[in-house]
């Protein structure tokens, strides 16, 4: 019996949340994008797990800063920052809702470590961008962080997609110093991806080459998802009508 499955398992039925990619990808666009990114076998796996990864970029198109400097260093860094926001919030949410605490000790170490790394990435990117940094979006993980299986699979898809994103963007910076810095993120994210795949029981390195992904490709994948949500409105200036 191999330590790892030969490949990703076939797509599973919707988890307890009923939130597989099929549920949100009515026109098949996300699956098609994943097909191109990962190949058909892996895409099949991701159809059940990629809600998180696909959702990554949901907010990427939203911040106005992107449109203002599309293609520039700031634009790319902010794009990466939203990814890091998403990842750090994802792991943090898993911890806060108690999902991680129910995991085995090795999985807890994995989730805590990756969460801490992603948070460090957020901090440094915010520091580099300064006032140009986009605000943290509001995320709705649709229950994925509340279910261990969904959490783990989504983490795999999310880390894989992050590698594809950074591989596609690292060389695009006009400032070579930024390229060098983002490469240091890329290598760490690649290790995250391998660790996540190991944790999930899949081949850590599924293919000989990583295929980079453009911002538009990622954006197209993510736009159809709903991880990035409108923040609930909890304040008002309306005259109270409480009993007094």
């Amino acid at each position: 019996m191999p330590a790892f499955a030969e490949g990703p398992p076939p797509p599973k039925e919707a988890g307890p949340l009923g939130l597989t990619l099929d549920a949100i990808d009515e026109d098949g666009a996300i699956a098609e994008a994943l097909e191109g990114l990962y190949g058909s076998t892996r895409a099949s796996f991701l159809r059940g797990a990629a809600l998180g990864s696909a959702a990554l970029a949901a907010g990427l198109a939203a911040p106005a800063a992107f449109a203002a400097e599309r293609g520039g260093d700031t634009h790319i860094l902010n794009f990466d920052l939203v990814f890091e926001y998403l990842q750090s919030t994802f792991y943090f949410s898993g911890v806060r809702v108690g999902t991680v605490a129910k995991m085995t000790r090795p999985k807890q170490v994995w989730a805590h470590t990756l969460g801490a790394h992603e948070l460090a990435h957020v901090r440094i990117l915010k520091s580099v961008l300064g006032r140009r940094a986009v605000a943290k979006p509001f995320f709705n993980f649709h229950g994925v962080t509340e279910d261990e299986a969904a959490f783990t699979k989504t983490a795999v898809a999310m880390e894989d997609l992050t590698v594809a994103l950074l591989a596609g963007q690292a060389a695009r910076f006009h400032d070579r110093a930024l390229t060098a810095a983002v490469f240091s993120l890329l290598t760490v994210e690649a290790r995250h991806a391998a660790w996540a795949r190991h944790i999930a029981g899949y081949v850590p390195v599924a293919q000989a080459f990583d295929h980079p992904k453009t911002l538009d490709q990622v954006d197209a994948v993510v736009r159809r998802t709903r991880f990035l949500a409108s923040a609930p409105r909890t304040r008002s200036r309306k005259q109270p009508k409480f009993t007094g």
Binding site: T113, G115, L119, A180, A181, F183, R233, F242, T243, G244
Partner: protein
């Protein structure tokens, strides 16, 4: 044979370096290229590009699981007595509160029924302390809360805890015996500011609690936590059910208490 291999290796490195625009130095700086064998070749590679930033040492995620959660209502949904579609309907959760803010509920339990996840939530309905089950998909993302506000109607005092530690306390006014502040477990629904009413003071929190006697009150008779224009009445049993605080206290509470905070009235 060995020197031939070495020469070939050096030549390969030299060629690669030439392609890459590297500079090669030998003991004779005017030499056209590296010596094929036996020369003292010093290959000087360019320094790596200095990164624009380096990631600092990560801080551990030491934060434990939260004690309480709330979630916004993502779509109007019927809350039921049991976690299944044929459970008896209790109430419909709308998208908005009477104050025009997003409706939200405190989440107290979860379960999976026939592959679907359900959450048990506190309902802002009468009778107070009612809970009901809603499909997980009807709610937005869970938001953790580490605070808890306890209002003691006997001691006429409110205490805010964060992670079990007391961080705020203040005297309060509560309902009269004719219109008592309801007892039970509720949650903070919204925060109103800038409404320009001295009666409610500078800040008013909406809660999920409702007056059991003022049922025909406008907007449903919800209980608020707010300031006052009569601070001399606090502490006391002076209100129509709302929890009143002196303005400086409610302003301080507003800085400490997030939306979704559980409210315990005893």
């Amino acid at each position: 044979m060995r020197s031939f291999v070495a020469a070939g290796f050096v030549a390969a490195v030299a060629a690669a370096g030439a392609v890459a625009g590297l500079r090669h130095y030998t003991n004779d700086s005017h030499a056209a290229g590296p010596e094929p064998t036996g020369g003292r070749l010093a290959l000087v590679l360019p320094e790596p590009v200095k990164p624009a930033f380096t990631v600092p040492t990560p801080k551990p995620l030491s934060t434990p699981a939260a004690a309480a959660f709330w979630a916004p209502v993502a779509r109007a949904v019927v809350a039921r007595t049991a976690p299944r579609a044929d459970g008896t309907a209790i109430a419909t959760l709308e998208l908005q509160t009477p104050e025009g803010t997003s409706n939200l509920v405190a989440v107290v339990a979860d379960t999976v029924t026939k592959g679907s996840r359900w959450l048990r939530v506190r309902l802002p309905v009468l009778p107070n302390n009612t809970t009901g089950w809603v499909p997980r998909v009807a709610l937005g993302g869970l938001v953790p809360v580490d605070t808890r506000l306890v209002v003691d109607r006997e001691l006429l005092r409110a205490v805010l805890f964060r992670n079990g530690r007391r961080v705020f306390t203040a005297p309060v006014g509560v309902g009269t015996t004719q219109a008592p502040t309801p007892r039970g477990q509720f949650y903070i629904r919204d925060k109103l500011t800038g409404f320009g009413s001295s009666f409610y003071g500078p800040v008013a929190f909406g809660t999920s609690a409702r007056s059991a006697v003022l049922t025909d009150w406008p907007a449903g008779g919800y209980i608020g936590i707010h300031g006052t224009n009569e601070p001399q009445l606090i502490p006391g049993r002076v209100s129509h059910g709302c929890i009143r605080m002196r303005n400086q206290d409610i302003a301080r509470l507003a800085r400490l208490m997030p939306i979704g905070t559980p409210l315990i009235v005893r």
